[in-house]
Symmetry: C2
Subunit: 322 residues, 2 copies
């Protein structure tokens, strides 16, 4: 009988889960909708049933040891999802997912936020294997971060460490969903680079293939494709985005001095378009003692099931502690 | 026979040392000049001889177990002092102090920078006893920081973590000794608040009791005393200094989410004049999830021999690991 765990990735629209072995093979996967109810019990009845059914298909060949969850605003220390704006059943309250899932499955359960889960995934299965100090940045609808120090994820006193997306990038800068202004993720994220393109379209009076899209239509993928075709506005938007990211990563280094920085998520798929300006600005802005020794690289985990892999890595790590 | 260690605090002008027991009693202390030679061997011959003499005075009642050193640019991981601008015998090179002292004393030796030593001192003897996650900020001729995560000091991959004084506080800001512009310590430190006073004197055309001092004469103590007498420029300088410190401490929280933040060093002695504007700006700039739960307090270690206490705490911690 083979040991396995369940990795769950809770997104605003879908919840994906997989049954995963120790080396990161996803043996089975499935998904349920996240946004069909604002009643956590209704949601969990659906999720638990789906997982039970998938596990039953694997039969006695697999022994499920625990459940790891990556979720927006997931707090490892409290086991809860706390005031997650994009989750209907947790947007205005604290939901203790660990307690609720443990009640049904009677096995160890752990939760953390999606960026932390990705960092643990990188550490267990990816390019950070054996690394003691690194930072992983997720560039998606927001900017998330998982910080590892002395081989352990930094959760902080309250379980909410690693919110580099909310450091101040500009005084009196763009409005952020958190209610403050100038947060890094309002510039460096998929919506962030879109906002930059719209500023540039305003400044240069169009003159870009991106001029034909509405704010609702434009995506970071479109900006990437325009950049590959040499569109000046798109290229300038990547330059500005990378420049700011480089400055703030240089500041992050002054906190925890990592061995490497990994970029992950939708915007990271733009490869050199985001990497080159980020690296250039990073090196220029680093304190001398750090210069030339901290590579910024793309995550070695490809997207797709990486979020459930990360969630599974979280619970493998817990099980290894026991 | 009582166990003790030697704590050494290397400053630009003097090197202070003390022989200290497990609970932080300084049994003997002494000092030698730091700046009389640029030959590390000459310096160490003097220091080693002085320590030997002091230890001999304590006689057989005390058994010395190890030596801890706090020094500018002291690197815990390499055991070296690396390119320390204010140390004549290390300003342009790497000096492995751990190896050199071990050769003479034949006992465990550890070195770290002064802010890290102060943080360990706070953890072993001071207000951070039993605390797993905290940040200590030293406000002196620079801004130093010691970051503790999961009960351990964050040294980072290269031993140089915790340089919050060199995060970017302003784009195209003041020239910093590190060669870059806008570093936090160019605003928030003893020289930083002096620079702010000079900007304000320029802006308001004097109108302050501080108008009568030259740049060379003015000290942060004078600014503090002027503030206690209600001098508007001095008060405004504290407000500006605290505001920037609060913003950057809010960013630091987004990295490691500490339980408490301790302020230490010359400028921290200004008490409420620096604490009040810092706390106000800090709370205003924190991400909502962190608000109202992270006190900023003065270090509970009084100055004087605190630097040698911190250095002794470093080596006690090493000895406890064995």
């Amino acid at each position: 009988m083979k040991d396995a765990v369940v990795g769950i990735d809770i997104g605003g629209t879908f919840t994906k889960y997989g049954i995963i072995d120790r080396v990161g093979n996803v043996m089975m996967e499935g998904s349920v909708p996240t946004d069909q109810t604002d009643d956590i019990n209704v949601y969990l009845t659906g999720l638990n049933g789906a997982i039970d059914k998938t596990a039953a298909e694997l039969g006695d060949s697999v022994s499920i040891m625990g459940i790891g969850i990556g979720a927006p605003n997931g707090n490892y220390k409290s086991g809860s999802i706390e005031f997650a704006p994009n989750l209907k059943w947790a947007h205005n309250k604290v939901v203790n997912l660990v307690t609720l899932l443990h009640k049904h499955f009677k096995m160890p359960v752990a939760v953390t936020n999606d960026a932390n889960a990705a960092a643990i995934g990188e550490m267990i299965y990816g390019g950070a294997k054996g690394m003691k100090d690194f930072i992983l940045i997720t560039l998606g609808t927001g900017l998330g971060s998982g910080i590892v120090v002395n081989g352990e994820l930094v959760y902080g006193n309250d379980g909410f460490a690693g919110e580099i997306g909310h450091v101040r990038a500009k005084d009196n800068g763009r409005m952020c969903g958190c209610g403050r202004r100038g947060c890094l993720e309002t510039y460096v994220s998929a919506p962030g680079i879109k906002r930059t393109v719209f500023e540039l379209l305003a400044e240069y009076n169009g003159n870009s293939e991106l001029s034909k899209y509405s704010f609702e239509q434009l995506t970071s993928e479109m900006i990437y494709h325009a950049a590959t075709r040499g569109d000046k506005i798109a290229l300038e938007a990547f330059r500005i985005t990378g420049e700011l990211l480089g400055i703030k990563l240089a500041d992050a280094v002054a906190h925890t001095s990592p061995e490497k920085i990994f970029l992950f998520g939708g915007l990271a798929k733009s490869g050199d378009y985001i990497l080159n300006p980020t690296r250039e600005s990073f090196e220029k802005n680093l304190l001398k003692i750090y210069q030339g020794k901290i590579p910024i690289v793309l995550s070695s985990l490809t997207e797709g099931n990486v979020a459930i892999l990360g969630a599974s890595a979280l619970i493998w790590q817990e099980l290894n502690k026991q």
